[in-house]
């Protein structure tokens, strides 16, 4: 992709970097440019270091690229930290009244702004961001009208604030264009109508579009965005939203609602998901359809609350005692977070089981543009076999009737003459419990078989996995979930460099499409699994389900997402014979120093 640029905005939490990035992203989106944004931040509300990377492009982008070309340093720390990372031809914008420049790398333009002069002495400190954003808009060749329209939209109820921001931005824009050199390949306008979204609001909007009526949650990063969307929109959309005392309550409340016949959902991250596991088994044995989102972050335990990892696959697979029927799926992109909600609810209801939906911080908190036409679509709603009204057949109604498909028609409570009790104890077709009221090993075996039979139906209903890239390549890269974007780019790059390879992204982890995946991987010389965890959870799962052992592994578990270069290098190393490549984000700018204190060596940042 030639016509693109990556911009970095660095500052401390509370410096206003996030809103500066939002405004830049919207400015770009409004002139039809695609944007992808990823923020690396620390788990604190003020201070620390926050590094926001925005990739602007004339084509759709699903991940960050390797190198930043233009940056706004909101504080001295960001200047010191990232200046050396800038690509030749790049530029660095900063408040010349406050920030001292470092020595710019070859071909990088330093662009100090006289903020006091441009914004006025009485301006709020935050105005330096607006001046800087105006300057960046000018130097990237973006249209000033797009930026001013963003301010008009954001502050539409406060015309004075609009004017102050537009004036400051214009001053920055004019000064920069007059004083500094624009980048060599300015980004133009495209005709695309774009929405600027993040994965969490795609999950929430997708759920609403799929007919979710009850949403329960306990606040937990990085899943809280779903709760925020639901809290804001639930009342007007007729969605009941409850913030519950803990995730045990969340899962149980969601299941109680679903049992009554609504589509219900909850979302959390790994720690909260751990608390939900007993209830997941309940949904499974009671055959209640629920959609449960786990937005993965770095684990175990509290782990890395604001960092990326794909480390909860084992947890999801083992998320109940006993053999439990469930679907585990992982969307592959922010766009897929939206459309997967359609699939998730339909599968849950058709097969009456929990759907465990693995998003992660990268998708849920990553922002990108999507065409509005892609979002504006009515979802197909398939609720499976349900009984909504007394059909006169109540006498022969058994809630857990043993059927050839294993799916038993589900009467919703309130329907006359179809009464039943659902129990977490094992139960017969009519719901009467085994082990309490009576005991019968023959019935126990039959009802377990009935529930498990549903998994065959799920397998048949799943869309087939698709191989991307040249089909005849003898090297296949296998991934699951959010690594799809960056690995697709890496595979494209490798093919351009003459290394023929293709890419299989697996969306459904349970049930695993063993037959299809085996067919695709059969006879490949190199099978390389790229995933974001230490132990190779997905590679082990692939092997457990298919017997196929990958020949190479590329892993990252340092909290920051893969960049294309990590994947490209990792694959190349594997093709040279290395079995395992553990890659990382090693540029010095990523690391903030260990705080000094009694008994603590401040040099710990060096090992």
């Amino acid at each position: 992709m030639e016509n693109e640029i990556m911009v970095g905005i660095g500052g401390a939490a509370g410096d206003g970097g996030a809103s500066t990035a939002d405004n830049l992203a919207l400015t770009s989106a409004r002139q039809g440019l695609h944007v992808y944004v990823y923020t690396s931040y620390q788990s604190l509300i003020r201070g620390g270091h926050s590094w926001i990377r925005l990739r602007l492009s004339t084509q759709m982008v699903n991940n960050v690229s390797d190198q930043v070309s233009a940056m706004i340093a909101l504080n001295q720390d960001s200047m010191d930290r990232h200046l050396q990372e800038l690509a030749p031809g790049g530029l660095c914008i900063y408040n010349g009244d406050k920030v001292k420049p470092g020595k710019a790398p070859e071909g990088v333009q330093l662009c100090p702004l006289p903020v006091f002069e441009l914004a006025g002495k009485d301006a709020l400190p935050i105005m330096q961001n607006t001046v800087g954003l105006g300057a960046l808009t000018g130097l990237l060749g973006l249209e000033f009208a797009s930026l001013s329209s963003v301010f008009e939209h954001t502050f539409k109820k406060k015309p004075q604030v609009v004017k102050a921001n537009v004036d400051a931005a214009k001053a920055g824009y004019d000064f920069a264009v007059k004083t500094y050199k624009k980048i060599s390949n300015p980004l133009g306008r495209t005709g695309a109508k774009l929405a600027m979204v993040h994965g969490n609001n795609m999950i929430a909007l997708g759920a609403a579009n799929a007919g979710c009526k009850v949403y329960c949650a306990y606040p937990m990063s990085p899943a809280s965005g779903v709760l925020h969307w639901m809290g804001a929109h639930g009342p007007s959309l007729g969605i009941c939203v409850r913030q519950v005392e803990d995730e045990i309550g969340v899962a149980n409340m969601t299941i109680g609602a679903a049992q009554m016949g609504v589509r219900a959902m909850c979302a959390t991250s790994g720690g909260g998901f751990a608390l939900m596991t007993e209830a997941i088994g309940m949904a499974s044995i009671m055959e209640i359809p629920v959609v449960m989102i786990n937005v993965m972050r770095g684990g175990p335990s509290t782990g890395l609350p604001t960092k990326q990892e794909q480390g909860d696959l084992n947890q999801a697979i083992g998320a109940s005692q006993g053999d439990f029927q469930r679907i585990i799926m992982a969307p592959a992109s922010i766009a897929d977070c939206y459309t997967s909600m359609e699939e998730a609810f339909n599968l849950a209801e058709k097969f009456q089981m929990p759907v465990l939906y693995l998003s992660d911080l990268l998708m849920s908190e990553g922002h990108m543009t999507l065409e509005t036409s892609f979002l504006d679509r009515e979802f197909k709603i398939d609720r499976g076999e349900m009984v909504f009204e007394d059909d006169g057949k109540g006498q022969s109604y058994y809630r857990y009737k043993d059927t050839p498909s294993g799916v038993s028609p589900r009467a919703i409570p309130g329907v006359p003459n179809h009464l039943y009790v659902s129990a977490t104890d094992e139960h017969d077709e009519d719901g009467v419990t085994i082990s309490d009221v009576y005991t019968d090993p023959v019935v126990r075996k039959r009802v377990v078989d009935k529930r498990e039979r549903k998994m065959q139906g799920v397998l048949a209903a799943l869309p087939k996995p698709k191989l991307e890239g040249p089909a005849d390549a003898d090297t296949t890269i296998v991934t699951y979930g959010s690594t799809w974007g960056v690995v697709s780019e890496a595979v494209e790059r490798l093919n351009k460099e003459g290394i023929k390879c293709n890419h299989l992204s697996v969306k459904f982890l349970v049930p695993f499409q063993e037959k299809e995946v085996t067919e695709i991987l059969k006879g490949k010389k190199n099978i390389i699994v790229v995933e974001m965890n230490k132990s190779g959870q997905f590679a082990r799962h692939l092997r457990a389900e298919t017997g196929i052992a990958a020949t190479g592994h590329v892993r990252k578990y340092d909290g920051e997402p893969f960049e294309p270069k990590h994947v490209v290098n990792g694959i190349q190393e594997c093709l040279k014979g290395q079995k395992l490549v553990e890659t990382g984000s090693v540029e010095p700018g990523w690391r903030t120093p260990h705080p000094p204190g009694p008994g603590v060596l401040s040099t710990s940042s060096t090992h």
């Binding site: 600027m196 009526k213 009850v214 519950v244 005392e245 109680g256 409570p413 006359p416 129990a423």
Partner: protein, 298 residues
């Protein structure tokens, strides 16, 4: 009253399923079940409009012996499950039930928050001061010093006071019954079901097998009715004072009923102003709604 109730009383037998209870002969829970069937009959609630939700334990087997829709959920989780059920269809009468271990031990967190949240449901706790189904260990309401399998040298811990706890947590209807006094208990049930908010009935329901201390006889000697002593159930402070009584004299009856109850959460939730959510025929966003939501991101 938000609960859907038909005017005509119905026969209590209509709430008896084919499956008979499997509790020990003489268990206090028989009384609790029989009274619930009579109370629902008196209020004339159609079976299909009742959702009875329990946790795990001897007493939590109750939904299996009650003819209605029901869920026999997880240990300690009857209240969040019941809350979800009420949110999904607020037109149904929801009754949660379980034991003292279930509700005051493992489910304690949900207990407090369900009261704070003020969900319109009735919560019946069959309180036998022991863990019965696990064959006799100490429970949160076991008396200090009580010898059980897990405390053979005497329970060293304090005894939980669920009545005081409920009052402190903002519960608008707090009552205690005794399964040895069926008519008194029935009146508490009918009042609780009709109360437009969270209603707690803690019921002394003796375990005849594992609790040799707090027996039917022990309770009979001690319980007295609050209404006989002129207790004003509209007076929260008086209720709190009465809740502290334990020993030779133990009060049963209605401790507190909020004379000016605020709307329950299901009555107040803007999403629950129409028919039950579960009754919606068409799911998903209307085209106009969807367009408007997408516009927010442009």
């Amino acid at each position: 009253m938000a609960t859907a109730v038909a005017a005509t009383p119905r026969d209590a037998k209509l709430y008896k399923p084919e499956v008979p209870p499997d509790w020990c002969p003489g268990c206090g829970d028989y009384g609790v079940l029989t009274v619930l069937q009579r109370a629902c009959g008196e209020l004339g609630i159609p079976n299909e409009q009742l959702m009875v939700i329990s946790g795990i334990g001897c007493s939590s087997n109750l939904p299996g012996f009650f003819k209605s829709y029901g869920m026999h959920s997880l240990h300690g989780r009857s209240l969040p499950v019941a809350t979800g059920a009420k949110m999904a269809n607020h037109e149904m009468t929801v009754i949660a039930c379980g034991g003292d271990g279930d509700g005051y031990g493992i489910g304690q967190g949900h207990f407090i928050h369900a009261m704070r949240r003020n969900v319109n449901l009735t919560y019946i706790v069959m309180d036998n001061e022991i863990y019965g189904l696990t064959t006799g260990q100490t429970s949160p309401t076991s008396e200090t010093g009580m010898k059980t399998k897990s405390t053979p040298h005497g329970n060293p811990e304090g005894q939980l006071n669920p009545i005081a706890l409920a009052l402190a947590a903002g519960c608008g209807f707090v009552a205690r019954g005794f399964s040895g006094d069926i008519n008194h208990l029935k009146s508490l049930y009918t009042q609780a079901i009709q109360y437009p908010g969270f209603a707690l009935i803690d019921v002394f329901s003796p375990c005849v097998t594992f609790n040799k201390q707090n027996t039917f006889g022990w309770f009979k000697e001690r319980v007295y009715k609050l209404e006989d002593k002129g207790h004003d159930a509209a007076n929260w402070n008086a209720a709190m004072d009465r809740s502290k009584e334990w020993g030779a004299q133990i009060p049963i009856g209605l401790f507190y009923k909020n004379p000016n109850p605020k709307p329950s959460i299901d009555a107040a939730d803007p999403a629950l102003q129409g028919q039950g959510l579960a009754k919606a025929k068409k799911l998903g966003l209307a085209a106009e709604q969807r367009k408007k939501l997408i516009e927010e991101y442009v």
